[in-house]
């Protein structure tokens, strides 16, 4: 064996524990999930043999109103997140980038702290703030409005939960966009300033085109985040009122662990994961390009 294959073999052994763990508890479960979605699995036979039922679970999911309502809730949730994180994120990043002062530094640090908070914490805080007897309604009460059932009204609950998730993820968007802005060479900005470009035309003709790759990756990451923010729904509304805030991850989880219909729950999960997989391809490709550049 020559020197380089010996080195490779040695480094290979360094990868073994991580690989074994990933195969046993990340890859095997995904295979299992797909098998589950194609089988009749309930509480009684979870640990026994599963009867293969083909695409019956998937078809049942695709033809049920509950599934499409959940898909709709997920889309609304995602669109709110995208709109706020990209638009407000850009505005805030411009406010904060390149104006380092004690105030901007403190606000940025605070926002990052909130972003890193466990979602179960931020969800709990907002559940209290938005409650019937909570602070938001108390403030509205001072001007004679309300109380508003932010989390209990079918018209508002989904928007309220989405806004809270947007609040929690905005710092991340700001961080990424700010990084993109700071990477723009100073000369370009100075040249634009000499030309007398207004703030708006600077944004439109120079900053946004230069930020396009950053914003593309950010869009993918926000959509992925939307698919995992089960936490806010779980904490704030438990899918309610009715099924208004029942998003796809929540539906998959509830079907599996409240009614123990693991086969049907797995079917919902597999259908949602197809979206995640579609987004994973351009994301991984873009990171590879970055790596090679």
């Amino acid at each position: 064996m020559n020197r380089s294959s010996r080195q490779e073999a040695l480094l290979g052994t360094f990868l073994v524990p991580a690989a074994v763990l990933a195969i046993a508890l990340s890859i095997a479960p995904m295979v299992q999930l797909v098998r589950m979605s194609l089988s009749d699995v309930g509480p009684t036979n979870l640990l026994k043999s599963w009867e293969f039922v083909g695409t019956a679970n998937l078809e049942a999911a695709l033809s049920s109103k509950v599934f499409w309502d959940a898909a709709r809730a997920t889309i609304i949730f995602t669109v709110v997140l995208l709109g706020i994180d990209l638009v407000v994120g850009f505005i805030v990043a411009r406010l904060l980038a390149g104006h380092e002062s004690r105030l901007t530094g403190a606000v940025l640090a605070l926002m990052v702290l909130v972003w890193a908070l466990p979602p179960v914490v931020s969800g709990s805080i907002w559940k209290f703030l938005l409650a019937g007897d909570g602070a938001i309604n108390a403030i509205l009460g001072l001007v004679g409005v309300g109380p508003v059932g932010w989390l209990s009204s079918p018209d508002l609950a989904l928007w309220a939960v989405s806004l809270v998730a947007a609040w929690a993820s905005l710092p991340f968007a700001v961080l990424i966009i700010r990084g993109g802005l700071l990477a723009i060479p100073r000369e370009i900005l100075e040249a634009a300033e000499l030309d007398g470009a207004s703030s708006r035309s600077l944004s439109r003709h120079i900053l946004l085109p230069l930020l396009r790759p950053t914003l593309a990756v950010l869009t993918i990451l926000i959509i992925l985040y939307a698919f995992r923010s089960f936490d806010f729904v779980y904490v704030m509304t438990q899918g309610g009122p009715g099924r208004i805030t029942n998003t796809l991850p929540y539906l998959a989880y509830q079907t599996s662990f409240k009614t123990f219909s693991f086969g049907s729950g797995a079917a919902v999960a597999v259908l949602s994961l197809l979206v995640v997989a579609l987004l994973a391809i351009p994301y991984v490709a873009s990171l590879r390009r970055e790596e090679q550049a």
Binding site: T104, V121, Y283
Partner: protein, 274 residues
């Protein structure tokens, strides 16, 4: 960008700061209110602060705090033990063949950590039940570790890449074995990376509740984060208890943030896919 709305900048930044500060302040204030206070006037700013809520929680939930500590410490150690050698391996540049191995490993780690937890837990429940590990801390630690190792490897890799190749080569020419290179070069040089990753993994493991509430079925065995999640599911929540639990769940993050703000912020922005 000096002229971009300069008159409005400071007031806007201040409003933004309030939007993020007030909810946190509210959590802290409420956790210092008494049961009666919260029930009669949940939004009063003038009240006699009391430690009653914390005393209640410490009395009733000391077991949960101990559980959280056990989980977060074991997950952090286990993740480091498994992820460090892997990060070293994917941070070395050898030949083209090794580059292919690395890109396969990295791509699969990237994809794996995109799988939403509430969906991953559906098959994991059955797998752990088959191993008789549901309801045990060991099972929970194992799935938390499996979730965080890919993340830790991706986060540590840039630190491993930053070590000059000559350093590895020189040590190897000196006849140092692979294990010794790892111990005497990688671990000391990656100290910053290790600290950052350990802090982030600890915070995530402390705040994790989906695996915890699903895999541990008795309430007494839940960590603090799981207790907080469960309290939210009750019909009548006492806000002071909820906020005190929320504060307890965010405590490691707040402490680490205060101690190592800059490093944590850098680490968090590198580990973009959270």
């Amino acid at each position: 960008m000096t002229h971009a709305g300069s008159r409005w900048r400071i007031p806007l930044v201040a409003v933004l700061g309030l939007l993020y500060a007030v909810p946190l302040v509210w959590m802290v204030i409420t956790s210092f209110k008494s049961n009666a206070e919260v029930r009669s006037a949940p939004n009063d700013l003038l009240f006699a602060p009391t430690l009653d809520t914390f005393r209640d929680i410490l009395a009733a939930g000391s077991e949960s705090i101990w559980t959280s500590i056990q989980i977060a410490v074991s997950v952090t150690l286990l993740v480091l033990v498994i992820a460090l050698p892997a990060a070293y391996a994917v941070g070395r540049r050898l030949g083209r063949r090794w580059a292919i191995v690395i890109s396969i490993v990295l791509a699969s780690f990237l994809v794996l950590q995109m799988v939403p937890q509430p969906m991953a837990v559906i098959p994991l429940f059955g797998i752990l039940a088959g191993w008789k590990l549901t309801g045990s801390l060991a099972g929970l630690v194992l799935v938390d570790t499996a979730m965080l190792v890919p993340f830790a490897v991706l986060l540590l890799r840039p630190f491993a890449l930053a070590v000059p190749r000559e350093l590895y080569d020189a040590a190897e020419i000196d006849g140092a074995s692979g294990l010794r290179v790892f111990r005497s070069i990688v671990i000391p040089l990656l100290r910053n990376g290790i600290a950052t990753v350990a802090a982030i993994v600890f915070i995530i493991a402390w705040g994790e509740f989906i695996y915890a509430t699903t895999l541990i079925n008795d309430q007494a065995g839940l960590p603090v984060s799981g207790l907080l999640a469960q309290q939210n599911n009750l019909y009548s929540v006492s806000w002071n208890r909820l906020m005190a639990l929320a504060l307890l769940t965010s405590l490691p993050l707040v402490i680490i943030f205060l101690l190592a703000k800059r490093r944590l912020m850098e680490g968090l922005s590198v580990g973009a896919v959270k």
